[in-house]
Structure formats: structure tokens, C-alpha cells
Amino acid sequence: MSAHVHAAPAPVGGRLLNAVSFVCAVLILSAFAILALRFWGGLGAVTNLNDGYPWGIWVVGDVVIGSAFACGGFSVAMLVYIFNKGEYHPLVRPALLASLFGYSLAGAGVIFDLGRYWNFWHILWPGYASPNSVMFEVAACISLYILVMWLEFSPTFFEKFGWTNAQRKVGRAMFFLVGLGTVLPMMHQSSLGSMLIVFGTQLHPLWQTMALPAIYLISAITIGYAVVLFESCVAAAGYRRSIEMHLLTPLSKVMLGMLGLYLAIRFGDLIVRGAIATAFEPTLQAFMFWLESIAFVLPFWILGSPAKRANPANLFVGGAVLMIAGILLRVNSYLIGYQTGDGWSYFPSIPEMMVTFGMFAIEVLAYIVITRRFPVLPREDHAPAGQAA
């Protein structure tokens, strides 16, 4: 690993106030205004939630999808430190940063979806906490993982503030933090799938399976790589930096390997259970299943050959399509495939969506502020364009 010499991470610099950060700020303020209404009038005041669909996009979008998108840090750290692929090292910090915010916001986002949020601490409190509940497992692991990630990322802040002593102390425990940082997300990303098992026959057979933990875990790792491709391309374009093609091209091949494993498990399970037959029925669920499956297969076509993988546009599109596939799997299994009885329907309200947009805006804004002011992205040889402007 020490054979790989990379450019050190350095702040990108440049102005914090621009069109993107302004739009983010507006979205964030609207989200807070809507949340004030929610805390004043109850969940029904701003959401379309009902007893047939008690979970909407705040749970499925902000937590289930949000945390899967935040798997970049976990996926890349696993590649670098567990599978000893040191060449991907420069990707760790930016990926970890995105994960840090994704998870911290997913954790915070849960609070305003909880109907009795003032009791939230019960979930980790002996006497209340119920280990039989899959949600307990998710909550415990996500809470711990957020803490671990802040510690993993803390050297960036220590470096900036010159706290070498603290930096050294965290550095000595880093191997253990990395170990925890891979096991904890494995546990809760699989459990986000296991949460659906207790729904029983309310969940369509295309998604109700004991393989859900494996399906959710492998897809989350795969999406982790997709997010890194996507983010690296966006960061390169946004900051007018060169794209790290020498890293992203082989990473996309790793992603395809994981994707192959995912598809083998997903379709193997459907065939073994015989549930694949229901995919040929004229139902909304079957249609959405094929949409989901196409999105999972498309990256093979987009990134199938070395020539295609050498094209940054393909990396961006491949990553984005796989992220959409991840969204579809999660929306399908939590909402479309969930049929609780006749007469119930759910589509998110505008205010509900605005809150979710606001949450993503916080992530984007925080990413901009931190990468411009803290050493996260690898140093560029030439002066960053943002600084010259």
C-alpha cells in the first residue's frame, strides 16, 4: 500500500456563496418552515401518510435510500483497507465525507418522522429497547456507525486545526474504527431489508423473501461505488478539477463485479422460490419490478467494455443509473410492493417532498463548505479554478 504515492488532500478553496449554495439554502429554509408546521399540527398537517401507508418518503427516502447512498465511505474503505487496494486511497476522504452527512442526516431525519419523538432515546435504553425488533438493530447500528464515522473523519478537522496530538491518538485506533466502520453498515444495511420480513404476505412475493438482508446489503455496497463514481464526476465538473479516471475506471469494474453478485442472488432467489412467475402478471408491481431490474442490468451495457469504462460520461451515467436502481428496489419493496388492504393509497405531498429535497440540500451545501475549506479532495497541481475566479 505504501507503494502508492498520492497527492495529499487539500482544501479546494473559492467562494462559498454561489448559485448552487444559494438554491440549497432556500430549499433548506423551506424544509425547516414545513417542519415547523409538522411539529405544530402533527404528521397529517404536511404529509399524506395514513394507516395503510404509515411510512412515506421521509422513512423510505431520507433513511432507507439516504443511508444506502451514504454507503460510499463504507464501500471504498472496505476496498482500501480490507481488500488492500491502496490505489483507491484518495477516494476515501471524499466518500467518507458524503457518508458522514448522509448518515447523520438520516439519523436526524428520523426524529421528525417519529410521532412521539421526545421518547426517541427509549430505542437504546435498557428496559425499553427490544432486541427482537429489527428496527432496534437498525437504530443501534446506525447510531454507533455515525459516531464511528465522525471519529474516522476527525483527522481531517484535527489536521485543519493543527491538533496533532488528537490526530495521533485517533490514528492509533484507526484500524479498529475501520473494522467497526465495515461491520456496522453491513449489519444495518442488511437489516433495512430484514425490516420487511415481518410484513409477511402484505409484501408482494417479488420482494418478500428471507434473502432480503443479502439483497439489501449487496445492493448497498454496489450503490456505494455508484455514488463515488457519480460524486467524483460531479465534484470534478463543479470544481473544474480533473477527473480521477485512473481510479474510477477500475472502480467501475469492481462495481460491476458486485452488481453481478447482486443479480445472481436476486434472480436466483426469485427462481428458487418460484416468485418470478408473478413478474409476468399484468400488475403495477410486475411493471415496477421490471423497471427496477432493467436499471440494475443497464450498467453492464453502459460500462461493459474497457473502452466504455474509460469514458467519464459513461462512468457518470452508469453510476447514476445504478443509483436509480437502488431507489427503485427500495421504493418498490417499501411502498409499491406493500399492499396493506383495499382502499389505501399513498403519494407524497408537495411539502413532504420539499422536506426530503431540503435534507439532500443540506448534504450538498455541507459538502461544498467542507471540501472548499477542509482538506478532503486530493490536491490539484494547478491552482483551482474556483480560486482564480
Binding site: P11, Y81, R93, Y117, N119, Y128, E159, G171, S194, G257
Partner: protein, 335 residues
């Protein structure tokens, strides 16, 4: 090249391990929960229900519940259309065609009670992360504690009967559902719906007694006369009456469904017409908990995984590179 093969091998092994652990019926597998010998419950006989809704009103009074918002706009009194966080019991009607004949599938009508079935192995209790939903080890009543509840609504989503409901119109909304009037039991009372039922369509008692009564009725010949108890079957506190045996569907709904329920139902119209879909005998909570206990029993699997990951991370992390993302050659770095 070899390290890439290593990676793929590791990834495949990891995936296979997860898939294997998830799919195999492991040692920690648990079957359906057993019913307590002193479990209490209800027997609802659709053929005896006259749709008077005395039970709906009594339930509201006994539980001190407000007028519901889920009511028909022009009705002068509280007519809840379904159970909500503020209505724990409703009588629903099945209609077909002109709906003239009681308990006839074609051209007839039939009543059905909708309230908590107090499952022997409840999904809501298994789902609840904070022990707000609990099953009494003796009576088997599934209780709810709003002071423990975090309002996550996992119980609402998990219940196969759609029973626990959340109050979305309150900033401090709670879950609402039937608790079999457990708060009235110390005064010698029992479920208010059964107490007030004029025909014994809703009967309270020990589940063992109720099951025997249900089987007795199914064994009767349609058209014969028989005695129908009222109120509390176990104590026989109310006078019974003689009536004609209806043509029952030969099925006690709740005897086997999702591991059995402590409220059971009899009807003369097929149950799926009365909003009761067929359900498997294996409880969903036993499937979910078997999976969780297989993966996390004694935390063995996570601890082994952590050991392996920590070992690999230690081995692969060079001394000067111990701050995840830290540059491997500091001399070149700096700001």
C-alpha cells in the same frame, strides 16, 4: 491480478455467507409462540350480529374515546367507518346485490366486527423497538403503552389485520387499538363490547372455552335449535337464549391464522368476502425473529466479522497512514 481475484473471492464468500445465514433454517429457528393456558379473548359470530353497534358505542365509552373525524359528513352522530386511533372497534357490513337476505353470500348481507385480534404471536410486538406493544404472559392481551412509544408506526405497518392505528392529526399523536378492556378487569369487568352485546355475537371468555364453543357450533346441523350463551362464556354471567343454527362456513377464523389469534370468528359468508384474507399458519414474527436471531444470536457473527475486519485493516494499514484518508507520504503534503 491475483489481488483482484482475492477480492472477488472474498466478496463472493461474504455474500454467500450472508445469503446462507439468511436462508438456512438455523439452530435458533423459532416456531410460532405457544398460547398461555389462561389466555382470554373473544368469539365473534357474524350470524348472531344484528348490526346494532351497541359494542361500538360501549367501546368508545369504556375507553373514553372522542368523536371520530372519520365519519360520514351528514350524520348527526358518531359513525366511524373504520377503526382509527380514536375508534378501536367497528361493525362493518358486507352487501351483495339488493342485500335482502342476512348471511347470504349472493344478494345478501352480513356483519363483521373489526378490532384487535390479540394474536398469539403478534407482529406488532415483534416489530416494536421500544416494548410499547407487549403481550401479557398470562392473559395474552396485547397492550400498548403510549409513554414508551416513539411513534415509529412499525406496528401499524406490520399488523396483517391493519389494527394498530396512529393519530396523524395531533402533534403528540399516539397509537390506538383495542386492549380488551384490561383497564376494567380489576373491577370485575371484561371487554365492554361483549358485556353489552344483546345476542352474544361477541362473546368473552378463556380462549380454550371459546375454541370449544366455536367447534360445538360448527358441529351442529343447520336448521336445528341450540343454546347461544351471552356475555362471559367462562363465568356464564348473562342468561343465554335458544336460537336456530345457521349454515356456518366450516372454518374458525383465528384458530390457525398467523399462529392463531385470541379473538376468533365464525360466519356464514366466506371470510375473504368479509375482509379477512387467507393467511399462512406460520407467524410472520417467528420468521422475522428467526432471521434476526440467526444473524445476531449471542452477537457471534458480528463479533467474528469485526475480528476479521479489524485484523485485515490492521494488516493493510501502514504505520504512517493511520488516519483513514490521511496522505501516505506526509513530507510531500501539508498546506
Amino acid at each position: 491480478m491475483s489481488s483482484r481475484r482475492d477480492f472477488l473471492r472474498c466478496a463472493l464468500a461474504g455474500g454467500a455467507a450472508v445469503a446462507g445465514a439468511a436462508a438456512s433454517p438455523a439452530a435458533q429457528a423459532r416456531g410460532n409462540a405457544e398460547i398461555s393456558p389462561d389466555a382470554v379473548g373473544l368469539l365473534f359470530d357474524s350470524t348472531l350480529c344484528i348490526g346494532c353497534k351497541a359494542c361500538v358505542a360501549a367501546c368508545k365509552t369504556a375507553n373514553n374515546l372522542p368523536v371520530d373525524i372519520n365519519t360520514t359528513p351528514d350524520s348527526p352522530w358518531d359513525v366511524p367507518l373504520d377503526t382509527t386511533a380514536r375508534t378501536f372497534n367497528v361493525i362493518k357490513v358486507y352487501r351483495d346485490g339488493k342485500a335482502t337476505l342476512k348471511d347470504a353470500e349472493q344478494g345478501g348481507y352480513a356483519f363483521m366486527k373489526s378490532s384487535c385480534l390479540h394474536c398469539v404471536d403478534p407482529s406488532c410486538v415483534s416489530a416494536c423497538p421500544v416494548s410499547a406493544m407487549l403481550k401479557d404472559p398470562v392473559t395474552g392481551i396485547v397492550s400498548y403503552d403510549k409513554d414508551a412509544c416513539i411513534g415509529c408506526r412499525y406496528c401499524v405497518a406490520a399488523c396483517p389485520f391493519g389494527i394498530p392505528k396512529y393519530d396523524y392529526d395531533s402533534p403528540t399523536g399516539a397509537i390506538g387499538k383495542c386492549e380488551l378492556c384490561r383497564h376494567r378487569m380489576q373491577d370485575g369487568h371484561y371487554a365492554a363490547c361483549a358485556e353489552v352485546c344483546p345476542t352474544g355475537a361477541t362473546l368473552y371468555g378463556k380462549v380454550s372455552d371459546l375454541r370449544a364453543e366455536a367447534q360445538r357450533r360448527l358441529a351442529l346441523k343447520a336448521g336445528d335449535t341450540t343454546i347461544f350463551p351471552r356475555g362471559n362464556l367462562t363465568t356464564g354471567d348473562q342468561p343465554s337464549w335458544e336460537g336456530v343454527v345457521p349454515a356456518y362456513v366450516q372454518h374458525v377464523y383465528g384458530e390457525k391464522e398467523v399462529g392463531g389469534t385470541q379473538m376468533m370468528k365464525l360466519a356464514a359468508v366466506p371470510f375473504d368476502k368479509l375482509g379477512h384474507k387467507p393467511l399462512p399458519e406460520r407467524s410472520f414474527s417467528s420468521r422475522s425473529e428467526t432471521l434476526q436471531h440467526t444473524l445476531y444470536g449471542g452477537l457471534a457473527l458480528p463479533v467474528v466479522a469485526l475480528g476479521v475486519m479489524t485484523f485485515l485493516a490492521k494488516r493493510n494499514m501502514p504505520k504512517d497512514d493511520e488516519s483513514a484518508g490521511q496522505h501516505s507520504d506526509k513530507r510531500e503534503g501539508g498546506q
